[in-house]
Symmetry: C2
């Protein structure tokens, strides 16, 4: 999932994202709550109407940004008081108010309000944080069930969703699988989040108890918070096996192209990361020949394409010399083109992963439905 923090994947118009094959975008509740505000987005029919994007959207709960961006936050059982990173104004997020915000934003998938445990954390602290996330998950689900009909979708959105779900089912669901049913009058899907720090036993317990609460999908949170990459890898491996294979398993906030392929092999179905878009803004480009820093003088006279193996509209048209010039001259088009390419590279990576799953190489990827041969 490309990240569109403020209802925009920085620099790339929506129709170009569609051309790239983006199926789902991530929006950040914390940022959208501050600007332009939930009420404004709700008034335009939710994020879909506001940013004119018919395909799927996922919003996080704001929890992670509150922990990473805002100052002077105060966490209690009730929720989190925090100050805006923009103007210092004071705000309060609880499981209930975060759900209210996410329902107002109207994404297709929304996330329970969790506490992202800091790294490093003592085991007792990780347990206490996990327990609170579990209590907040129950409160999130309760509020959501009571208010899910308040989603600002019109009938257009609902029929668009049905069409897409039917299409997805036709393409991916195993024959005779009756477990997935398209509901009449679809609502948003609320996903639970597994925490537990870097402790395998806590992760197992968090996963099992979150599944007990019951969600249509599950996320692995609390990673990419400063721990070594090997630890991330081990914790994901130790967590994913305790999450049901017939529900989407979403690993939050990873990773490099190599990593997302590895996580997919472990059974992760969804990932989001700012890396392709943020790196693009710094002139760091992912290619089939490795990472390139386009600002380097060696590219000033390089008439070749950025990545000869890439068929995106950037590699098909522009030279490395031109991209280097745009970056060096601080031209806005550098960000636009670099972002398009990096997204294309990430999406191609996932396309390859999906392709190999469908070819049956994925038997070891999943223990669940999607490893069965296509009908």
């Amino acid at each position: 999932m490309p990240v569109g923090t403020l209802a925009s994947v920085k620099g790339v118009p929506q129709d170009l994202l569609e051309d790239l094959g983006v199926q789902i975008l991530l929006g950040n509740t914390y940022h959208l709550y501050l600007r332009p505000g939930v009420k404004a987005v709700r008034g335009m029919g939710g994020l879909h109407g506001f940013m004119s994007w018919d395909r799927a959207i996922l919003t996080d709960s704001g929890g992670f940004q509150v922990f990473s961006l805002s100052e002077l936050r105060k966490v209690t059982e009730d929720g989190v008081t925090f100050r805006s990173h923009l103007d210092g104004s004071s705000h309060f997020f609880s499981p209930e108010s975060a759900m209210e915000a996410e329902i107002g934003l109207g994404a297709d998938i929304i996330m329970a309000f969790d506490e992202c445990t800091e790294f490093p954390a003592e085991k007792e602290r990780a347990r206490a944080s996990m327990e609170m996330t579990l209590r907040w998950a129950e409160r999130s689900k309760k509020y959501f069930e009571e208010h899910k009909h308040e989603v600002p979708w019109g009938s257009d959105r609902l029929s668009a969703i049905s069409c897409r779900q039917n299409e997805m089912l036709r393409r991916f669901a195993p024959r005779n699988d009756k477990r997935v049913v398209i509901p009449d009058g679809a609502t948003q899907s609320l996903f639970g989040i597994v925490q537990g720090g870097m402790e395998f036993d806590l992760r197992k317990e968090s996963a099992e108890r979150t599944v007990e609460i019951g969600f249509p999908g599950y996320a692995i949170g609390g990673l990419s918070v400063g721990e070594p990459r090997e630890v991330t890898h081990e914790v994901v491996e130790a967590t994913v096996e305790h999450l049901p294979a017939d529900r989407p398993r979403y690993l939050m906030g990873v990773g490099t192209p190599e990593e997302i392929e590895q996580y997919a092999r472990m059974g992760v179905d969804m990932m989001d990361c700012v890396l392709p878009t943020r790196a693009a803004r710094h002139g760091l480009l992912f290619t089939s020949e490795g990472k390139i820093s386009i600002k380097q003088a060696r590219y000033a006279t390089d008439s070749g394409p950025l990545d000869p193996a890439c068929s995106c509209r950037v590699c098909g048209r522009y030279s490395r010399a031109y991209l280097r010039h745009l970056y060096a001259a601080n031209e806005v088009l550098a960000q636009v083109l670099n972002t398009i390419h990096n997204l294309s590279f990430y999406l191609d990576t996932m396309l390859r992963v999906r392709h190999s799953i469908r070819l049956g190489e994925g038997a070891r990827f999943h223990s669940g439905v999607s490893s069965q041969p296509k009908p």
Copy 2:
């Protein structure tokens, strides 16, 4: 002509410019000479190859930027010594070196090196400046004629030009017009520039003597330098009548949408202006209902399109509320979308002008070939 100062129309990929119907772009020799340098551009086959743009390009001579941007410039009969606005390094432009740069950049239309007379200027100063521009025009033409074969075009470019010229001839040339001939092995076209300050008699003299030197097209320079709009209007009117109607007449550096329509009515064939792109970056948008400052709070909940009469990809997809949010949140997409719309508005304006000329309402526009009815 949209302005692409550094070989990019800020924020807009080339394929979107093509979709907008952009037929010709302007590049700035002064800026390109400093970054990435003429040699780098020449090495990539000129601007066309460098920025991957097959349609037409025009470069100015650098004269205007030397006068408006650089500090500590010193003008002599020989040329201009100036300091870079980027790093203060010292450089020298003469008619010969400016031609050398423009040939290396390889645009389709290049401009003679002129002195842009400052405003206000005493009549004697305007005359002296005009005389120097005439001498520099002769030197520009002489150097160009001796070096025009050095243009870095391959045969691809030449055949692309022939195709486009044939297409243009078929669409616009009157029946039996034998005056326009497509040369074998086309080169660039060097245009002369009329100066003369705000003095009508000097403008007439400058026009006549520039025509005597002989160029395939003529520009009106030295305007939009701080004079009142009415004066610009009068000087254009007093100049354009002394330029041959069967050659392109190019008014440099104007104007608002209303103005470019007025100047076209006077017989001006070509114009360039940073206004649509620069205004877009400041959130100023041109619409059929007047100019809009999208940052205003009144648009925060406006679900309507930016301009209901516009069919560009921005007006067809996004609301004013979304555009306002992007601008207020300092999102790069604001610049991208605003620029696309403003360019579309300008190009639509010129499309209307061309349409009315072809419908024959243009009898009073031109005394030359293009006023005759289409065969």
